[in-house]
Structures are given as C-alpha cells and as structure tokens.
C-alpha cells in the first residue's frame, strides 16, 4: 500500500529522461525532486545520466566508408555537369 504521490526508485529511473527534457507534469516533477531529497541512489543515477549525455557529446560524428564517399562525389560531379 502506498500513497499515490510517492515514487519508488524503480519508477524514478524511468522518469529521468522526461525530467531532463523538462517534460514532466508539475506534480510528477515535484514528486521526482522530493524523492531525490533523500535518495542518494537516484541522485547518483541522475548525475550519471547527465555525465553520460555530456560524454556522448564528445563522440566524433563518424564518417561514411571511403568508397561510398567516392561514389557520392562522383554522383555530385555528374549532376553538376549535367
């Protein structure tokens, strides 16, 4: 038996992205932040999510395989001269 307003950690972790996107309803956001007051497990999880996002931002964008880039360049030159 639980209060409706009370969040358990297992629910909190599923709300983290919505919280960071500022997409929680005011009630849910309040419940979420109330829970963080006393739960270091969830505080750590939120912090780690923030760290993950920041770290992912440092991953290089990546490149197409060189052969494909060559083909695309050829196609561009073909289009340009038509």
């Amino acid at each position: 038996m639980r209060l409706d307003r009370e969040l358990a950690c297992q629910e909190v972790v599923e709300l983290v992205t919505a919280y960071l996107e500022d997409a929680l309803s005011p009630e849910d956001r309040e419940r979420f932040e109330e829970h963080l007051v006393f739960c270091d497990g969830c505080q750590n999880y939120l912090e780690q999510m923030r760290d993950t996002i920041a770290a992912t931002g440092r991953v290089p964008v990546g490149a197409l395989p060189a052969a494909l880039e060559e083909q695309l360049l050829e196609a561009f030159r073909g289009w340009r001269s038509s």
Binding site: E34, V37, F38
Partner: protein
C-alpha cells in the same frame, strides 16, 4: 512574505545549481511552478525538502501556494538559520524514530519500520528516516496519517528553530520528546 529555502553548501540551489546571492532581490521573470519562479517552503513543507543549509527568504509579487511549496516571481535570501545544524538534524531524526516506535514499535511487520528509521537516523540519513516514519504511519493508519506525521515533523522543526508556524496547530497535544 517570509518563507524558507534549503540550499546545498555554499548557497547553491539543489536542482538548478544557481548560486544565490544574500540580500539581493532575484527576479525569476515569472511563475510557472516547478519550471520558473523562486521556489520556497512554508514551515509545513520543511520536512519534505531537508537539505544541508536552511535559509530564510523573503518572497515578493504574486505567490503561488502549492501543496508542497511556494512559488514567487521574486525573492531574496535574508539570513541563514544557524539553528539548522548537524546536532538539530540528528535530534530531529531521533524524534522521528521515537514517534515511529510509539506508533508501530510492537506491531508485527510494521515494527520493521521503527528498526529502519532507527538504523537510517543512526547512519545520518535523516531525510530518509523521516520518510520511513511517514510511511510507517500511513501503513498503520492510512494516507491521512502520512500527512499527520509530516505535520508533526514540521511542528517539531518550527518549535526548535523558533519559526512562526501558525497554520500548524496540533490537533492533539504534541508528543513529549
């Protein structure tokens, strides 16, 4: 209007990381509860938001009164309440434990909450002990008892800190602690 605000060490807001100046008015530019605005506690909300530092804050403008907080367009920190220190927090934890023991201490299953609250308070995890106390009350006597325990927690804090808690009149005589 005088209200209260918990901050992280150094006067930093817990969720935004905003570094609060002392004495200067801070303008939030609007009120959109949970998103925009100066967020603060009324006395009854203190047990919910416990943090390392407790400050007195003056709110101005049209204040939105919510179930667990106040939101205003402008606010300024007045002074830090030194009474809110480790000793007080520890005593608060013990008071929660004592109420829990009296409420559920000898009931099967629920008595475990008294054990939990005690252990948590002993570990210095007082906000969690306070939460356990409120949950224990709820499990024994329903959702109203959860709110009642939180109210008793707020009254305890108001008395020890010398705060005006006019809206918290006890329905029963306060438990002697």
């Amino acid at each position: 209007m005088i209200a209260y605000k918990f901050l992280r060490p150094g006067g930093i807001a817990p969720y935004t990381g905003f570094r609060w100046p002392v004495g200067d008015w801070v303008d939030a530019g609007g009120v959109d509860p949970c998103r925009t605005g100066i967020h603060a506690c009324a006395v009854r909300d203190l047990p919910i938001w416990m943090g390392p530092e407790l400050w007195e804050i003056e709110l101005a403008g049209e204040i939105a009164v919510q179930a667990r907080k106040l939101v205003a367009p402008r606010g300024r920190l007045l002074r830090r309440l030194d009474g809110w220190n480790e000793g007080l927090i520890r005593d608060f934890g013990r008071a929660c434990v004592r109420r829990t023991r009296e409420r559920v201490g000898f009931l099967p299953v629920l008595s475990g909450y008294a054990f939990d609250a005690d252990r948590l308070a002993g570990l210095g995890r007082v906000p969690l002990a306070a939460f356990a106390a409120a949950r224990a009350a709820e499990l024994r006597d329903g959702p109203a008892a959860y709110e009642e325990e939180r109210r008793l927690q707020a009254i305890w804090l108001a008395e020890r800190l010398g705060l005006e808690g006019g809206d918290l009149q006890a329905k029963k005589p306060p438990l002697a602690v």
